[in-house]
Subunit: 334 residues, 2 copies
DNA sequence: CCGCGAAATTGAAACGTTTCACTGCCGCGG
DNA sequence: CCGCGGCAGTGAAACGTTTCAATTTCGCGG
């Protein structure tokens, strides 16, 4: 193995000089710096991560807690992960993968044994049992999602409340008076996952304000569930003319099923979704949607961590304003 | 921070004794061992991962290369990852996340800087450009998937060739004489991803043997693509009575579309899929399928790595025999 | 030509483990 | 009673960095 010593000898300088060239924490003359860099290249030197971590108490690793068992919104999760890994690498950080299922103990272990410098937790629920433990960690922590007691924690997420309101505004502006919501899986509401509840709040509250009648129906991620859900929402007496879909798993089948039941989109019924842009655009009929800005949220989360690692401490909840893209699946009520 | 020194003092033994209690590499008397363990517990000691790595040149981390951009078979990928992480943890290993997109350089960096002890690569393609570099790594490497030149590499995968043959056997046994294959995305075939090609080989070869006519149609992961694909495969002159789906992305819509076109499953057309069991079971009509044993493949891959880390070196290609579950979506030709 | 301050470079002490070589100690056979 | 083998436990030297404090070098004004 090539060590910093070899590099130093090869470049004719001391070990510490090489270290300073690498870290840039001291001014090094142009000439020396070049010589050292060349030696590093020629010898193919890579600093030993463990030794580095030991001496500097910085691992340059961040722990990422991912929900893996979720059969629901996998594409969204992957977008988050992808953006997080990319952004982390841009800051010269690697990502250690932990699963949500293994709980807060694993996070504690990883931090206590100095395997990572900071923690990023995805899919945080309203009453998330991990939150108290996370709060105690002596390292920066950023949550994607917002728990009930968010004070003193850094959180990043789409503003689901505003999103709920926004979709209603959109439909109300088009003249719709009765709208249905195809919600997430009942399980999601039961365990109080924040985003579903918050979306629903914004949705309901805005509808009340605008005098729009609402029909809410959670929907399990299966075809029969969707079928029943649509059957219920489209009962003639409800006179639903606008449909909001907050459920990636069944999104693909919604338009198909509507079509099969003889409802054209958007002529007979307007459809608007809350999902990643790519997904909305890939539907049989491209769907008007509010984007889930996974890329952006992931990047912001990592940037926040980096700032935390540099000593900043103004923890806060950052909610991103919803952006609505009209793809023609909504139209004025006839 | 609590160090091994603190533990030693607290337990009234030497530092090395504590280390040996932890590693079990030397016999330690029952009494001492208990005393040390108690001190560890009471002080909440966690060995410093970096120091450990430095002294032992073992990180207890394995690098996992995951394809993140793939919009295709995400649930399958997640199953792999989940199983890998779980198995790794059972061996006291953590998992470092690398993305396929960042290429072999990142893998090299991670190994060269001793951030991980071994590498697990998912989604290996037939002519994978990363393979030569992976071969040079001075650490155990296991691939999930099989490249063209697999000699000297450890590979684990479902036997896709046998799977292709198996589905044809199944349909042929039921009397079907003309079967269609809804394949993976054209992109998958183009980049020569091994599994798609191998499945196709087994499929074609067995059909020839059994005198079954085949109609192969790759299918992009979008509704219009599926629609066109079905239109093509179901042309009356083809007389297709059996349909094989090797495409998780459109699987959900296949049965819906068939139904819409007035074909009942399995009365008018038999459908058999290659996908995870859970997915086949969750369809509008539960589908007869060959399982993609992600759990098992992931676990075997990790176990193989662990053996490699213990010095074993009988590298080989392990192909798992396909298992077919009949869920009633296939029937005798009428 | 000398001395001074700033800039560049260096030596050596951490950092927290593992592991090798060694020391005590105990019991047993001669 | 002595010596010997084996078991438990210990001391100290790695492991490859970072970083503090100290030293050397350099340019410049006096």
């Amino acid at each position: 193995m090539i060590t910093i010593k070899d590099v130093a000898r090869h470049a004719g300088v001391s070990v510490s000089t090489v270290s300073y060239v690498l870290s840039g924490k001291r001014p090094i003359s142009r000439a020396t710096s070049h010589r050292v860099r060349r030696s590093i290249r020629e010898l193919g030197f890579h600093p030993h991560a463990g030794a580095r971590a030991l001496a500097s108490s910085r691992t340059h690793v961040l722990a990422l807690v991912v929900p893996l068992r979720t059969d629901l919104n996998l594409p969204v999760i992957m977008q988050f992960v992808s953006s997080i890994v990319t952004t982390a690498r841009a800051h010269d950080y690697d990502v250690l993968l932990l699963t949500k299922e293994s709980g807060a103990d694993e996070v504690h272990r990883v931090i206590a044994s100095s395997r990572a410098d900071a923690v990023l937790v995805m899919d945080v629920e309203a009453r998330d049992p991990r939150v108290p433990a996370l709060r105690e960690l002596p390292v920066p922590v950023v949550l994607i999602g917002v728990p009930a007691e968010a004070d003193g924690l850094d959180c990043v997420d789409l503003d689901f409340t505003a999103s709920g309101a926004r979709v209603v505004e959109h439909l109300a502006d088009l003249g719709h008076r009765s709208v249905g919501l195809i919600g997430s899986s009942p399980a999601v509401y039961e365990r109080g996952t924040g985003y579903a509840t918050r979306f629903l709040e914004g949705f309901t509250e805005c509808a009340r304000r605008r005098g729009v009648t609402t029909h809410v129906h959670p929907c399990a991620p299966s075809f029969p569930a969707l079928s029943e859900c649509l059957y219920d929402l489209l009962r003639p007496d409800r006179a639903v003319t606008g449909l909001v879909v907050h459920n990636e798993a069944v999104l693909g089948d919604v338009v198909l099923e509507l079509r099969r039941r003889g409802r054209r989109v958007p002529d007979d019924v307007s459809v608007i979704a809350l999902c990643p842009d790519a997904m909305a655009a890939a539907q049989p009929v491209p769907l008007t949607s509010i984007s889930i800005p996974a890329e952006e949220v992931g990047a912001i989360a990592v940037e926040t961590l980096m700032r935390g690692l540099q000593g900043e401490h103004p923890s806060q909840v950052r909610l991103l304003a919803p952006a609505l893209t009209d793809r023609g699946s909504t139209a004025a009520r006839r």
